[in-house]
């Protein structure tokens, strides 16, 4: 087991991601943040909390998306659905998708499909905490990434959040 990010590094990385998002969209006008269920929510909650301290708190539209019903491996075992909560239209919005780990890219593929059912975004960007860059199975890349790592398939990246796992850290198992 190897630590990729310690608690302190994780906090700094979240802050950096929030600032990078702002760097590209200074007022967050016409921008919406969408966290991916279930594991991306911990990251998106923190980034949104960070952003609320940096811009007008009311300016941020924040939703949560579950992609279970859009998976390409529906028949290879049952996946339990989580809740989706996007109480606004995505028509002509800049959507920033947030997930914890970018691995094969298949979750993001499904998420892109799902997003279209809420309107046609003008642009979609991807923000992830960990990018496992050599493991992609689809041509999908992040726009904002906390840390890029090289891994092999037999390894697992475990992201722990204080809210659920009592400790903040990212480890390679």
């Amino acid at each position: 087991m190897k630590t990729i990010l310690s608690a302190q590094q994780l906090t700094l990385t979240v802050k950096r991601l929030a600032h990078q998002i702002l760097e590209h969209n200074a007022t967050l006008q016409d921008t919406v943040i969408i966290g991916l269920q279930p594991r991306g929510i911990f990251l998106s909650d923190r980034i949104v909390a960070e952003l609320r301290g940096l811009v007008q708190p009311g300016a941020i539209q924040y939703g949560k998306l579950d992609i279970t019903f859009y998976r390409d491996d529906v028949r290879q075992g049952l996946h339990i659905a989580n809740s989706t909560d996007i109480p606004f239209s995505l028509e002509n919005k800049h959507v920033i998708l947030i997930d914890d780990v970018l691995y094969t890219g298949r979750t993001i593929r499904a998420a892109l499909d799902a997003l279209l059912d809420f309107g046609r975004p003008s642009k979609v960007s991807l923000c992830v905490l960990i990018d496992r860059r050599f493991s992609r199975e689809l041509p999908i890349q992040p726009d904002f990434s906390g840390k890029t790592i090289d891994t092999i398939i037999s390894q697992k990246v475990k992201v722990c959040w204080k809210e659920r796992d009592e400790v903040d850290e990212v480890v390679l198992v």
Binding site: Y70, R71, R75, A81, S83, A114, D117
Partner: protein, 308 residues
């Protein structure tokens, strides 16, 4: 977590966990149905036949909508306009349909046990959409979903099931489900329409006085008088039934408390329910219909994942 069964033949075969999984999945599908695009691609590679040997409006349309909103391919079969009218047997009919590569069968039949018979003889997943006077599991699931949505829980809820218990598959499925989920059940109706020994068999209370039953309950699930299944007179007239067991606004207002009114449809207006109740503020009858689609999507989605 997955379902403990390959088919949905009746609530009797489901565990408490199964019911909880179906209801929580249905909640997610209900959200899908509020979106601008009310459709997901989950069952793109699944073909489903709706095999209806008995008439239906709500259930058939609700299943078909659920299937289409899951992106499944849908075949519809109505016995009256098919070769079943020429004498083809149920098993032959289904085997012929399955040879055209159909994955799931949703079926309604006037014979109790027809889906159980099919399940023994064919490989496809079967969803019972009502078999004779036995069970109507998706109705009980959508009733439970609607009660939970309206009142927040099933555990400890007091539910009165009122009317033609004897001929009602909705009543039987509801009793199984509510007991499994920890609700209290009282059945009410004329003695001729309530099966003997039902108290011992299903651990429910029986009450012959309508007003007492209504005063006790949080929810009244009112059933249709099924004249088509009664081959002998069991009460003297519909008018008399209405006088003794019909629910009207005046009666509800005399209770001194609010109760939720449900009905699986179709309603015999002026018999078991008067219009001022059916269309009144306490009725959640149309919510039940709306929830039916989400619940059936959940059932089909979960069963499709049991295959292959």
């Amino acid at each position: 977590m997955k379902l403990s069964t390959k088919h949905l033949l009746g609530i009797k075969d489901l565990t408490r966990d199964d019911i909880q999984l179906i209801l929580s999945t249905a909640e997610q599908f209900k959200e899908v149905l509020q979106r601008p695009v009310k459709k997901v691609p989950s069952l793109r590679d699944v073909t489903i036949v709706n095999l209806f040997y008995e008439n239906s409006t709500r259930t058939r349309m609700s299943f078909e909508l659920a299937e289409r909103r899951l992106s499944a391919d849908v075949l519809n079969f109505a016995a009256t306009t098919s070769s079943a009218a020429k004498g083809e047997t149920l098993l032959d009919t289904v085997n012929n349909i399955l040879s055209m590569k159909v994955d799931m069968v949703v079926m309604r039949h006037s014979a109790s046990g027809a889906p159980h018979f099919l399940a023994k003889h064919i490989p496809a997943a079967i969803v019972n959409a009502g078999d004779g006077i036995n069970e109507h599991p998706t109705q009980a699931l959508l009733d439970a979903f609607s009660m939970k949505e309206k009142l927040g829980k099933l555990e400890g809820l007091k539910v009165a099931i009122i009317g033609d218990i004897m001929h009602s598959r909705v009543a039987l499925s509801n009793m199984y489900l509510l007991k499994k989920m920890g609700a209290e059940v009282t059945i009410a109706g004329p003695p001729t329409l309530i099966p003997k020994y039902i108290e011992q068999a299903l651990d429910v209370r029986v009450e012959y006085n309508l007003k007492k039953a209504l005063q006790w309950c949080d929810v009244a699930n009112v059933l249709r008088i099924q004249l088509e299944r009664q081959n002998q007179p069991l009460f003297s007239s519909l008018r008399e039934y209405n006088l003794a067991y019909g629910i009207n606004r005046k009666l509800l207002e005399s209770l001194g408390k609010e109760i939720v009114i449900m009905h699986p449809g179709p309603i015999n207006r002026g018999v078991e329910l008067d219009s001022d109740v059916a269309d009144g503020p306490f009725s959640i009858i149309l919510n039940q219909v709306e929830n039916g689609v989400a619940v059936r999507m959940a059932v089909l989605y979960l069963l499709a994942n049991e295959q292959g």
